[in-house]
């Protein structure tokens, strides 16, 4: 069993009468010659790493190697705990988790690239915040991870997830689409709604550039992961409310890839444009190489 694009994925879901997560699992079992038990074991391991990376910085802040980050996740979490969050529990929690993962990543801690290290906070941020709010079991949370991996696979296959090729829209944009789709399945949405949410999430970050200060995976990456979760939850909310998406995911992905290739080289991970080229950005990386 395999699918080359989102249209084929939807047909498979309909034919087999099962969610995206299940189709992705069957594909993996077929093509990688593995079993459901083995998949579950490996995905549980990924989930364990995600949980640790999301929560540890909330109480144990770490300074990044380049010195641009440290302690942001804790501040956001404290703000929420004091009952002052203006965006509500789920979003505030998701932001803290996502920023925490980036803090761990930038200080040489252990993370799961999702789909990349620079965008590794979005998927765990969204799913773990939903888990906490709705008391969802780990077993059920795995379905969201399987679902999101289907969206990420399509992006890797038919476009790109490399900032150097497509800008941040290919990293945080895709991560956000993955999280949106997984969140919709987790909250009871249909496969078509999942892919609508993925399309919306990608659409709303179209054109986002990759402009790391000092060339490091620190700033603005961490803040972009925060907007990645907000965008994913917004897209999922639209889809679950029954709001239709005009452009199918396959076409949105092609648009993202097209935009990415048209972006100037200085806006694709070279640290020569955007935030990286601002006076403050340049001043901040005196110690960087």
């Amino acid at each position: 069993m395999d699918f080359k694009n989102a249209a084929e994925l939807l047909i498979l879901c309909e034919k087999e009468n099962c969610p995206i997560s299940e189709i992705m699992k069957r594909r993996e079992c077929d093509l990688a010659e593995t079993t459901n038990e083995e998949l579950s074991k490996r995905m549980h391991k990924a989930l364990t790493i995600m949980k640790k990376a999301s929560t540890e910085p909330l109480t144990n802040p770490r300074r990044s190697m380049g010195g641009l980050l440290g302690g942001e996740a804790r501040l956001v979490n404290l703000h929420r705990q004091e009952g002052k969050s203006i965006c509500g529990n789920i979003l505030s929690q998701a932001i803290a988790y996502a920023m925490g993962v980036l803090e761990v990543n930038s200080s040489m801690g252990r993370i799961v690239a999702a789909p990349t290290a620079g965008s590794s906070g979005v998927v765990p941020g969204v799913f773990l915040a939903l888990q906490k709010e709705y008391d969802i079991s780990d077993e059920k949370l795995l379905t969201a991870l399987y679902n999101s991996s289907a969206v990420g696979y399509l992006a890797m296959r038919n476009a790109t997830v490399a900032g150097a090729v497509g800008g941040c829209q290919a990293e945080v944009g895709v991560a956000s689409a993955m999280a949106a789709s997984g969140a919709v399945e987790l909250m009871g949405g249909k496969p078509a709604q999942c892919l609508d949410a993925a399309s919306t999430a990608l659409m709303n970050l179209l054109g986002l550039v990759c402009d790391p200060v000092g060339g490091l995976v620190e700033y603005p990456c961490q803040y972009r992961n925060a907007i990645g979760v907000a965008n994913a939850l917004t897209a999922a909310e639209l889809a679950l409310s029954g709001v239709k998406q005009l452009i199918p995911f396959d076409e949105m992905l092609a648009a993202m890839y097209h935009v990415g290739r048209r972006l100037a080289p200085e806006l694709k991970e070279t640290a020569m444009g955007g935030c990286a080229a601002t006076p403050a950005g340049c001043a901040a990386c005196v110690g960087c190489e």
């Binding site: 995905m43 799961v112 690239a113 991870l145 399987y146 296959r157 150097a164 995976v217 190489e289």
Partner: protein, 226 residues
Amino acid sequence: MSFISMFDVLGPNMVGPSSSHTAGACSIALIARKMLGEPVRQVAFTLYGSFAKTYRGHGTDRALLGGIMGFATDDERIPSAYALAEEQGIAYDFSYNHTETEIHPNTVDIQLTGIHGHAFSLRGESVGGGKIRISRINGIAVDFSGDYNTLIVVHKDRIGMAAHITKCLSEGMVNIAFMRLFREAKGDAAYSIVEFDGTLSKDVQQKIKEKKDVDQVMVIRIQEGQ
């Protein structure tokens, strides 16, 4: 098109901050360690391009050092690689080549000597998302991905060598994913590199080795430790 697994999307499990500059660097060095087949006594790294420019902020140096000590990409000992290498008495050296431009931007040369005196050199490229490519062994241009378990046969460039290797593999029920032959010049040293599915027994390795003009047989198990 090669298979994209769900664990290529949600993965690799890795120590940050960069899949190409940290995880990829570690994977290249880990392959070098596996090819050496014994603990490392001495190692010299030469970093090129973006590796040479931004290694410190990305922990590329520590990931490389961790890799040659046998650490996987998600090993939390990578940040302390310098201290651990010193504890193990490994003599290491880093140099940075900023002038060579006709090369993949994330390239490293690794020269290794093991505790029993076995020595060789390797060039690796980190090609994105933690994926890598080994592009030279002992100065000879080769090409393999490290995605599969890999058999490397060092032999003299003689007629019938590929037939000998494939015969041994088929008798051992080993399915070949990719196979390529690399050589410097006709009749000189050559490398047959086979990426395969599943496992390869010691018996099969021994059989391949028994033929005249086969100098060395190495098996790199990529899947172990996952």
